[in-house]
């Protein structure tokens, strides 16, 4: 008899010989009886229509839920994207350095996040990071600026020629080509130049012209003269005086037969170009010719 012959028998898969053999067995009658009786068994009633209706009800309930949820989900997606964009751009723009520049004949007054004040002279650029200003008061300066520093952590002004570090003070930094000047008006300033630290008390200046250090020139005012629309010089080569004139008045300077290393002491007006030209030329005994936005300085023969 083959394997699982009872199952095969129910499925009419027994061979004739096998079937005959099975029919002859004692159990056969019992099996027939079991099979016949089991065919009359019924599972409990199952109301299909009712069950289907119940499912449709449930679907309906869930569909309403879905209708409510879906737009919300979509809204959340959009909202999430917007939040990410806003947060991203907030951090992006915040982490950017703030840069303030001035053109020729222009000054700007800047209030830093800690209420320190900076006045930027003409043709200058100031860069600083707004983001962590309170813990890291670092500025980069090209050109000239006057600082009124609020009390707080170390305040550092980095320039291409030297670094100035201060604690609660007022000082002026000028950093032009080959010309670096720091003047302290209040408090104490530390100047780092060529890895050497120089401490400037109130009223002291530190000037480097063409690599030559010139110290301890006393400013005669409480604030730099340029804040009062005047540029003043003490024993400064004419070259730098002309440069400053050009910056303050936006007038291109050219020269003829002039000793650019001649020292100049004095001041010129930053508001009146004619007056300024006279202030420069008279003590230096040179002449000038003003033509529109150009001026020519030439030597008297």
């Amino acid at each position: 008899m083959q394997e699982n012959h009872l199952a095969k028998w129910l499925n009419n898969e027994l061979s004739e010989a096998e079937l005959a053999e099975f029919k002859n067995s004692d159990e056969y009658a019992s099996y027939v009886r079991i099979v016949t009786a089991s065919e009359n068994l019924r599972a409990p009633d199952f109301n299909e229509a009712e069950a289907l209706a119940a499912i449709k009800n449930k679907q309906l309930l869930e569909q309403t839920k879905v209708v409510q949820l879906n737009p919300f989900k979509r809204f959340m997606k959009v909202a999430a994207v917007i939040v990410v964009l806003i947060a991203g751009s907030y951090f992006f723009f915040n982490s950017l350095d703030a840069t303030i520049t001035t053109q020729y004949a222009e000054t700007k007054e800047i209030v830093l996040p800690d209420n320190s004040e900076v006045i930027l002279n003409a043709d200058s650029e100031l860069t600083y990071n707004k983001n962590n200003w309170d813990s890291n008061r670092n500025l980069n300066l090209k050109g000239e600026a006057f600082f009124k520093v609020a009390k707080g952590e170390k305040f550092t002004v980095a320039t291409s020629l030297g670094t100035v570090a201060v604690l609660g003070t007022q000082f002026n930094v000028e950093n032009r080509e080959d010309f670096f000047e720091v003047t302290c008006y209040e408090g104490l300033v530390s100047v780092l130049y060529n890895n050497k630290e120089v401490k400037l008390p109130a009223g002291a200046s530190f000037v480097v012209i063409n690599g030559a250090i010139n110290k301890a020139q006393k400013p005669d005012a409480l604030v730099p003269s340029w804040l009062n629309a005047e540029s003043s010089f003490k024993s400064v080569p004419l070259k730098y005086v002309f440069d400053e004139f050009q910056r303050q008045h936006n007038i291109m300077v050219s020269t003829e037969n002039i000793d650019m290393n001649q020292l100049y002491t004095g001041s010129f007006s930053n508001s009146d170009a004619k007056l300024a030209l006279q202030s420069i030329s008279a003590p230096s005994q040179i002449k000038f010719k003003l033509e529109g936005a150009k001026v020519l300085f030439y030597a008297e023969n």
Binding site: E3, N4, H5, L6, A7, K8, L10, N11, E27, S30, Y31, R33, I34, V35, A37, S38, E39, N40, L41, R42, A43, P44, F46, E48, A51, L52, A54, I55, K58, Q59, E62
Partner: protein
């Protein structure tokens, strides 16, 4: 119609057709396993609600095995089998002109059969009843139970064998 069916259990008509075709068997299947009518009703509902929720993903060809899988997984090892109570089709009780003695004997036999069915292992009982009551082929049962046809034949064989042994008092 066939092509329309193919991608659309989400179509209410198609869904109803599938329900009509399989819900009773799902119900019986779970009932034979656990003997609990309530759970069988729940299984049907759960299986077909899941089918509806996944109507886009499940092709109509896969719907049948999908509902059995869901129904099956629902009570996997969770509920203990209760007494499987089965009714008898009325005709056997009424339509005979047999003498009372015969009827008494017949009823006795049926009681024995029912008792023996309850004592069968769950998988043998399910296989036996699906075949005897619902007329399911071994192949169909094999698909529902996710086993081979041979395994079903074995269950069927063992079921018959132990039913006979119980009833004959061996």
């Amino acid at each position: 119609m066939k092509t329309e069916n193919k991608h659309n259990i989400c179509n209410e008509k198609v869904f109803s057709d599938i329900f009509t075709a399989h819900s009773k068997t799902v119900f019986n299947y779970i009932y034979y396993k656990f003997g609990n009518e309530e759970k069988a009703h729940d299984a049907v509902q759960e299986a077909f609600v899941k089918l509806w929720e996944n109507c886009i993903k499940v092709s109509p060809e896969k719907a049948k095995s999908f509902v059995y899988t869901v129904a099956n997984n629902l009570y996997l090892n969770v509920i203990k089998a209760e007494k499987v109570r089965l009714k008898y089709a009325d005709k056997t009780l009424k339509s005979t002109n047999e003498n009372p003695e015969f009827l008494l004997e017949e009823n006795e036999f049926k009681e024995k059969l029912e008792k023996a069915l309850q004592d069968l292992p769950e998988n043998q009982r399910t296989t036996f009843l699906l075949n005897r009551i619902d007329g399911k082929k071994y192949k169909e049962i094999a698909e529902m139970e996710e086993v081979s046809v041979k395994a079903i034949e074995k269950r069927m064989h063992l079921a018959l064998k132990s039913l006979r042994e119980k009833i004959d008092g061996i």
